[in-house]
């Protein structure tokens, strides 16, 4: 249980370990994109963790990083091809970031730190935990950016048209929310909230 709970909060891959930030910035404009990206990363992470764990006693030490990379790359291309076939629109928006899952530090980090030294079941749960830890941050950031940036949730408008400035109202979407830097602020806010609530995370210096 600790394997799942820890990465959600105390050792969250994004907000505590600060890994995999680039994708969190780039594809969180819309909730749907953030969700598909999270699913993709979770799939790759879980499958890679289990596979590496299964063959951990066979992998020659000398080439273990390359072996991990080959496995991750294979899985990522699988995801990419499946997205292109079934959710073409989303795959166009995620564009290169699906391919860049290969370089997502969370995945290599978990493979090296956990899967290589543990049995498949714990590795599976470790991947689920870290995947969810990654996912919830993405979804929170995606939600905030979509609501304030485009006034919609999952593509459905929630701001009445009459309120918009173009239609003679007073409300205008916040364009800053659509640009990447805002995601940094939002992630930082999450980190801030988390550390305020959980004092032991604050490094002494």
């Amino acid at each position: 249980m600790k394997l799942i709970k820890d990465p959600l909060n105390d050792s969250n891959p994004i907000s505590i370990q600060v890994l995999g930030i680039c994708s969190a910035l780039a594809i969180t404009i819309m909730l749907e994109n953030a969700f598909v990206m999270s699913l993709s990363v979770m799939f790759v992470l879980i499958a890679a963790n289990v596979i590496v764990s299964l063959i951990r006693n066979l992998i020659p030490d000398k080439i273990r990083i390359i072996v991990q990379l080959v496995i991750v790359a294979t899985l990522v291309i699988t995801v990419d091809q499946v997205l292109k076939a079934y959710v073409y629109e989303v795959s166009k928006q995620l564009s290169v970031f699906v391919g860049l899952i290969i370089t997502n530090c969370i995945i290599m980090g978990r493979l090296e730190a956990f899967a290589l030294a543990n049995k498949p079941m714990p590795s599976f749960w470790d991947a689920v935990g870290n995947g969810l830890g990654y996912a919830w941050i993405l979804i929170v950031v995606g939600f905030v950016r979509e609501v304030f940036g485009s006034g919609s949730i999952w593509g459905f408008n929630i701001i009445p048209e009459g309120m918009l400035i173009e239609e003679g109202g007073w409300y205008e979407h916040n364009g800053l929310m659509l640009l990447s830097p805002i995601a940094l602020f939002l992630v930082a806010t999450v980190i801030w909230v988390q550390r305020t609530k959980n004092r032991k995370l604050i490094e002494a210096n």
Partner: protein
């Protein structure tokens, strides 16, 4: 028998087997999904052409079933392929020409370039949709421009791009940009002179042949301008508005 995991032989064998398994798996996957992926790409192209022709907005077309889009497309379009002098090339299927690849492949030998066109006629509306391709800042850009019955006035445009900056260059695909091409009439020919439509900075002076560039996306805007400047010539020759 104990295997020495650190021997070179073991390492090599392991690597070879792993690569064969991964490679075979991916090849299988790619071939089995290819049909679906190609259908998606073809569907998107039909949506773009229908949207340029003014049949419906791109958003409402995206909500339609793929088979419906294909049926409407097949019912309302006839196609032609021209060479650079505007002569019809027999036996070529316009829809199968990927305009970006065609422009790229014939970059150094423009004589060989094929120019597809889609003639739309539906409920008494006649349009001629011309695809063209060019270069943006980071990669190719392309568009479908619909000309009216006079084969001269622009009635609708759709632009798309591969990797322009989101929020800047990517705005060429937005309604706010494409709308400018149809808000006031834009024509390709000025009498018998070929002028096309240009994308200009700092205010439009000649509203029949110019639209405003996008702030912050100079290179992408210039790319659209260059694409439009060059793209119409063979068609104007084919339509008899320009001497062959």
């Amino acid at each position: 028998m104990a295997i020495n995991k650190n021997s070179t032989g073991y390492t090599m064998t392991f690597a070879v087997i792993l690569v064969i398994i991964c490679g075979a798996g991916l090849a299988l996957l790619a071939t089995s999904l290819k049909k679906l992926q190609q259908a998606n790409v073809a569907n998107e192209k039909r949506q773009f052409i229908l949207a340029a022709a003014g049949y419906a907005s791109i958003d409402s077309l995206k909500k339609m079933e793929m088979t419906d889009v294909e049926k409407i497309f097949d019912d309302s379009f006839t196609e032609d392929v021209y060479d650079k002098d505007g002569n019809v090339i027999e036996g070529d299927i316009a829809f199968s020409i990927d305009i970006v690849k065609e422009y790229k492949a014939t970059k150094r030998s423009i004589d060989l370039r094929r120019y597809p066109v889609f003639h739309y006629s539906n409920a008494g509306v006649e349009r001629h949709i011309i695809p063209m391709a060019g270069n943006g800042l980071w990669g190719p850009i392309w568009g479908f421009i619909a000309l009216g019955k006079d084969m001269n006035t622009i009635e609708g445009v759709v632009f798309d791009h591969k990797s322009e900056t989101p929020g800047l260059g990517s705005k060429i695909a937005d309604d706010a940009f494409t709308r400018m091409f149809t808000e006031s009439p834009k024509t390709i020919m000025d009498g018998s002179k070929y002028v096309s439509v240009n994308v200009v900075k700092g205010g439009v002076k000649n509203p029949e042949h110019e639209v405003d560039a996008i702030a912050g996306a100079t290179i992408t805007s210039n790319g659209v301008g260059a694409m439009l400047r060059g793209g119409f010539t063979p068609y104007m020759k084919a339509f008899g508005l320009l001497k062959k």
